[in-house]
């Protein structure tokens, strides 16, 4: 259940930012979670509900941007979307690829008041 560590990391970042800005409330939090990360959203939601209890994040709106996977083929230079890390190039079938998008896991923004 690394989702709990991830959630804890997000909460730490959010609370630190909120404190820096002397916020009384966090109204919304926006997250970028790439589709190629091993975040299991059911486990994530469960951990989230438990972990925000009693913090400034309790009751806030959570916006999750799922970022689609994208890679560039190192053989033929095709840029293509991928569902799995092991998907082959759609142009030539090669597995020599560089993943450019879809692995990110970050806190993008907070709405505070």
């Amino acid at each position: 259940m690394h989702e709990l560590s991830i959630v804890t990391g997000i909460i730490d970042i959010a609370l630190r930012e909120a404190e820096k800005a002397h916020a009384d409330m966090i109204e919304a939090i926006e997250l970028d979670i790439g589709c190629l990360t091993t975040i299991e959203m059911t486990a994530f939601d469960f951990a989230w509900r438990q972990a925000i209890k009693g913090t400034l994040l309790e009751g806030c709106t959570r916006i999750v941007n799922r970022i689609e996977g994208r890679a560039r083929c190192l053989d033929c230079d095709t840029v293509f979307g991928l569902q799995q890390v092991y998907d082959a190039c759609t142009g030539c079938g090669s597995h020599w690829i560089a993943i450019e998008e879809g692995r990110q896991l970050s806190v993008r923004a907070l709405t505070i008041s």
């Binding site: 970042i13 959010a14 109204e27 091993t38 890390v85 690829i97 970050s106 923004a109």
Partner: protein
């Protein structure tokens, strides 16, 4: 709030609503500490190797063999990550190698912070190889950089040749793949060609070493790899 009656008249200055662009990686803290560990390893000329696998793939056995066979050739130290017991650390201790145990309890992976503290406690010798045996789990440890130079994923022939496709992140983030227990190949339906091809689907340039800790077959290739790093 008013201390006498509880009314809300004493309002403190209220900041208006504002959007803060944070743009911060969730693993930022871990990654910073990992870089600190990496700097420490570099300064002391320590080759840090993070060993990951499912439970039972043979990480501890591989270490026992390595520490015994290469005694005298290199200086070693070991950090053992285990959820509960000290069994693995005891097995390493029996080879005469310096070992520190980290009990992660319910935690399913080691992180850079735990390694940082383990290093403070153990002070591994310089010009050495430090093995870090991670918790047996192919999902969670993938995301946590410990500051290692090499990440070695161990799978065994009893686990099925589709392992890399089931846990692609772990294979993608590794720098070497070991396929262990090749002595059992005659007894299990494991297609080693298919396993290799699955590994390379996830990461086209991941080197693979096939070996058996039991028969010793292929161990020399692993030792050569170690000495070359």
């Amino acid at each position: 709030m008013c201390a006498t009656c509880g009314c809300d008249t004493v309002t403190t200055k209220k900041a208006s609503r504002q959007v803060v662009e944070v743009e911060r990686d969730v693993l930022h803290e871990n990654n910073l500490l990992a870089e600190r560990n990496r700097g420490y390893f570099l300064a002391k000329d320590i080759l840090a190797i993070n060993l990951v696998s499912s439970p039972g793939s043979g990480k501890t056995t591989l270490l026992e063999r390595t520490l015994t066979d290469m005694k005298g050739q290199c200086t070693f130290a070991v950090i053992e990550g285990d959820q509960q017991t000290t069994n693995d650390a005891d097995r390493i201790h029996a080879t005469g190698t310096k070992v520190t145990q980290i009990n992660t309890g319910k935690g399913c992976h080691l992180d850079a912070h735990m390694i940082h503290h383990a290093l403070e406690g153990m002070r591994p010798p310089g010009e050495s190889i430090l093995f870090i045996e991670n918790v047996g789990n192919l999902v969670c440890p993938a995301m946590f950089d410990l500051g290692e130079k090499q990440r070695v994923v161990v799978m065994s022939v009893t686990e099925g040749d589709d392992k890399p496709l089931k846990y692609p992140d772990m294979f993608y983030s590794s720098t070497l793949c070991i396929i262990n227990k090749t002595d059992l190949l005659p007894y299990v339906p494991f297609d080693i060609e298919k396993a290799r091809s699955n590994v390379h689907k996830v990461k086209a340039d991941l080197p693979i070493i096939e070996l058996s800790c039991l028969s010793g077959e292929g161990l020399n290739v692993w030792y050569e790899w170690l000495l070359s790093k």
